[in-house]
Amino acid sequence: MTRLGSEQRHRIRFTLNGEAVDRICEPRMLLTDFIRHEIGATGTHVGCEHGVCGACTVEIDGSPARACLTLAVQVEGCEIRTVESLADKQGRLGVLQSAFRRNHALQCGFCTAGILMSLDALFARHPEADEAEIRDVLTGHLCRCTGYAPIVKAALEAAAELRGETKIEAVNA
């Protein structure tokens, strides 16, 4: 039995955006805080902290999940991806991000990181996802700026491009 005492910090290992993480934390530390404060990857945002708003959505082993409803100690051995993984090494925006930019699918940008990760997971699993499926995924996110229409448009455009049906010139970040 592995019992991690509440007062101590314990070793935890997982993969973040393809790179090994090997650090220590208290059992009660949320994955959001671990990613942001321990690692310093602040792309993942913290909104409501009880699973409603979706701003903190990351991919855990390929599935979108609320990082605020996950303890860091729960993801021992898992593969985590955050919004930082979407741009390439040169910092150029990914297909989905470029589509968001072209379509004004964000204004304040607070909810964007979470939405991008949900859509990224959706298209990885269902490249043919239609508007209904995109809207179903978006029910798990709150955006108070856009009214969602530009987000749906950007998602449909990105999905088509990812399927190789259209080619849009890369936009430099």
Binding site: R28, E49, G51, G54, T139
Partner: protein, 271 residues
């Protein structure tokens, strides 16, 4: 909003998890997917001294068909059951209700048994378990016992589970072509239901179960299916649920929904 401090046990066998429950009782809480418990911890509505993570237990991660029942283990995530190839055939009601259970981002982590253990009055899984006449398999270090869904839910987030017990599995009777229907009204798809209804055709008529209105999911058998008698019976059911006004909806609106959706679903499963 951060959880209070707790010890974290990553159980490597079911016996280990049961030992912690036996020794620590109500100071210990089982965490599976955490999609109900984590908000409670973050808001400090729950402050357990020890959390026991059971998600690494292979033995609990099973969906088993046995003697006309589908047993869903404690570590089976909602997404996993939704993707189970036989779901539409064996548990049609679940295939209708699960897409309403939270969002894709919470179903990826949340478990079927966790939702039953949490016993939110508006949750879909307890409602379907009740509508189908399912059972909860409870396990302690001493024994295993089964409780019918109609006896398990006792109130808002209150169940018949003892402090030294965990839910090992829940068992749904297989649908076997039985007609069933599900409908829900919520402010946003995936949010807490204002009213959720599930109807299942039985030998005598229809069993209608309602969530989101009373303190717990509540079922009633309807055998008089003639028009005005049915209206009266549904009206009596709607009043008996003792709806209350809250932030999301008035009691009157909830009663209206019970009568309206109830009528639609009964028509749907009997036509």
């Amino acid at each position: 909003m951060k959880p209070a401090a707790f010890d974290y046990v990553r159980a490597e066998s079911l016996d280990e998890a049961l030992d912690v429950l036996r020794n620590e009782g109500s100071d210990a809480r089982i965490i599976a997917g955490g999609q109900s418990l984590m908000p409670m911890l973050n808001m400090r509505l729950a402050k357990p001294r020890v959390l026991v993570d059971i998600m690494r237990l292979e033995e609990l991660r099973k969906i088993e068909q046995r003697q006309g029942k589908i047993a869903v283990g404690a570590a089976v995530r909602q997404a996993a059951l939704l993707e189970w190839p036989a779901l539409g055939r064996e548990l049609k009601l679940l295939s209708l209700a699960l897409p309403w259970t939270g969002h894709v981002q919470t179903r990826s982590r949340g478990t079927i048994c966790g939702s039953v253990a949490h016993a939110d009055p508006s949750a879909e899984t307890p409602l379907t378990l009740l509508a189908l006449g399912g059972e909860i398999v409870l396990r302690s270090a001493k024994k295993r016992r089964r409780v019918a869904a109609r006896d398990f839910f006792l109130g808002v987030m209150a169940t018949d589970r003892n402090d030294d017990e965990l839910i090992e599995a829940v068992e749904f009777p297989a649908t076997n072509g039985q007609r069933c229907a599900f409908r829900e009204v919520a402010r946003r798809h995936g949010d807490f239901a204002i009213v959720a209804c599930a109807a299942v055709a039985t030998d005598r008529g229809v069993r209608l179960a309602v969530g989101g209105v009373a303190d717990m999911p509540t079922a009633r058998e309807f055998d008089a299916l003639e028009s005005s008698a049915l209206d009266d019976a549904l009206n009596a059911f709607a009043w008996d649920l003792d709806a209350r006004d809250d932030f999301h909806a008035t009691a009157r609106y909830r009663r209206d929904l019970v009568r309206m959706i109830g009528r639609e679903l009964i028509a749907e499963v009997t036509q």
